[in-house]
Symmetry: C2
Subunit: 354 residues, 2 copies
Amino acid sequence: MQEEAQGSSMEPVTLRKVAAAAGVSVATASKALNGRGRMTPETRKLIRETADRMGFRPNALAQSLLRKRSFTVGLLTNDTYGRFSLPLMAGISEALVDKGVSVFLCNVEDDPRLAQLHVNAMRDKRVDGIIATGKRIDRRLPIDLSGLGIPVVYAFTEPDPASIAFVADEAGGVRLAIEHFASLGRRRIAHVSGPASFAVVHLRAQAYRETLERLQLAAFEPLLGTWSEAWGHEAVRRLFEGTQKPPDAIFCGNDQIARGVIDALRERSVAVPDEIGVIGFDNWEIMAAQSRPPLTSVDMNLTAIGREAGLALLTLVDGQKAETGIRRLPCRLVVRESCGQTTVKTIEVQSTSG
Amino acid sequence: MQEEAQGSSMEPVTLRKVAAAAGVSVATASKALNGRGRMTPETRKLIRETADRMGFRPNALAQSLLRKRSFTVGLLTNDTYGRFSLPLMAGISEALVDKGVSVFLCNVEDDPRLAQLHVNAMRDKRVDGIIATGKRIDRRLPIDLSGLGIPVVYAFTEPDPASIAFVADEAGGVRLAIEHFASLGRRRIAHVSGPASFAVVHLRAQAYRETLERLQLAAFEPLLGTWSEAWGHEAVRRLFEGTQKPPDAIFCGNDQIARGVIDALRERSVAVPDEIGVIGFDNWEIMAAQSRPPLTSVDMNLTAIGREAGLALLTLVDGQKAETGIRRLPCRLVVRESCGQTTVKTIEVQSTSG
DNA sequence: TTGAAAGCGCTACCAA
DNA sequence: TTGGTAGCGCTTTCAA
């Protein structure tokens, strides 16, 4: 038996029909269902019940036209396959869904034409606001979002001047990691990170130096390479085959590097965590939890960043003013087994804001 | 200097204003801009230029109200952080953006309440259709989408009966892998896969057996475990410490298992690919490309599945009928270095449909 | 060739 | 307490 699928379209239930069925005017029906105006409780009850029985759902298109508010926002990103934008989206969605706000997902790659296409579609559909996110905090989306006449909030991407932006407090995250090492008695802490072309590499290296200085510990020269396991391997070779005494702790710029570091250490029969501790960055669950031993890692709380961005956008949409600037939200340290702890726990600090 | 961000809202440019500025009626302006009706080329040109100059963009809300078509679809998923839904979304978006259709992203976890909330919001906003996706082809979303009066297409999730669904041709993918092994002279091909609770595990094991039989090769008993690197390790131990002669090829149920297998083989000093070949499943770039050696893997072409699902939904929205049933789209084999090839290439087969 | 008028589904104002 | 009416921004007859 071969059936046919179709958009079976029974006539929609309009307010007019509900009103007719309940024997009242559309105006009264509207007020009854929106909880406005005055009327006898019986009338209101009758109308409500009629609407429920008929399965009435108000047409948001008509409401939006009138209210000049579509309860819709656009999420612009260039992080197609990324592990950064997904937790971000989860947070955004979480903050908005309960307020009846839906999210248009717009992936623009790095294509200005595609970006313009999406932004046009969003404007036409009268989104209440836009959240811009990306995969790097030091790269702009391929389109200018200022002067659109729509509130815009940036999260985890390079913002326009005089806008509101949310990012992770990277320096705070680094401090958590280094202080964790120090509290466990590690004294020779190295830093293996990504390419110099990334702003976060400098941010983290700087925080690494400052924290060590504050703790009166000697710093290694940060080793910069790529965001790969292969580079983690190579870095270990350099640290252990050089002339200086090897470290007893390695703070890595991301979890992949850390993974490579751990593998390389095992191949050299250097015991993790007994002889050396390792901490990663990103807390990418699937990477961190499956390394041997499981990796302690700094988590940027991207979901929280998304949530804050969503809420901030709503206040702007509400017409309230908000201070511009970059807000840095605290990271947390997810402790697994690569530093000598065995119980999984989390360490947080207050945001240092900015 | 502390500035204030706001939703700066200059009065929007309406068709009425464009018409006034051009000295014509709204009706004429509408027709001019939509390329309908008849009028002198000069009038049309004048109106178009005026609209452009004023930055006019039609209010899609008003258009939708009238046309009963919102140029908006909903994407329902329970794969929050997943690597499956993302490529799928990319394909969907790709198929729709050029037709001016925007996508509401709705993550429903496995929460029926959340799912209902999102579906209600989508209905209210009069989406033209819904695409349902998930992280497993043998699990339903926590909500019934039939009888909504809206076209629904399923992609990579358990569909309703009498609906249209798209999935990967898993059996075809398995055949690609096994035949690749065979063509390289491998004769003792083992299969290490995930938990028996997954339908794909049985699908793939079955295809594994059938393909070996067709090639007149002996099959190993498929080893079922978890989708983890740790299980890949353990499986290698079993294959090499048992009484039977070890395999010269291992076909893995996903890339993580394959990764664990490769690592375990290295620890045993069994050379990949010289002594044994390894193929994974999913072609999860970040996992497959970074293993040592880089992993040959079956790619389910999720983006293509997403694209097809998007196009299918559009035809339904158009009011055209379409055959119901499950469509299986072909996989491809991405050849890296874990089987003895050194150049990266791709092998495809025609869909076996169904 | 052009435009007046009706109406999509709803809310809001004001009069009854 | 209730309902008639106007109108959100647009498209579409239909008449001029």
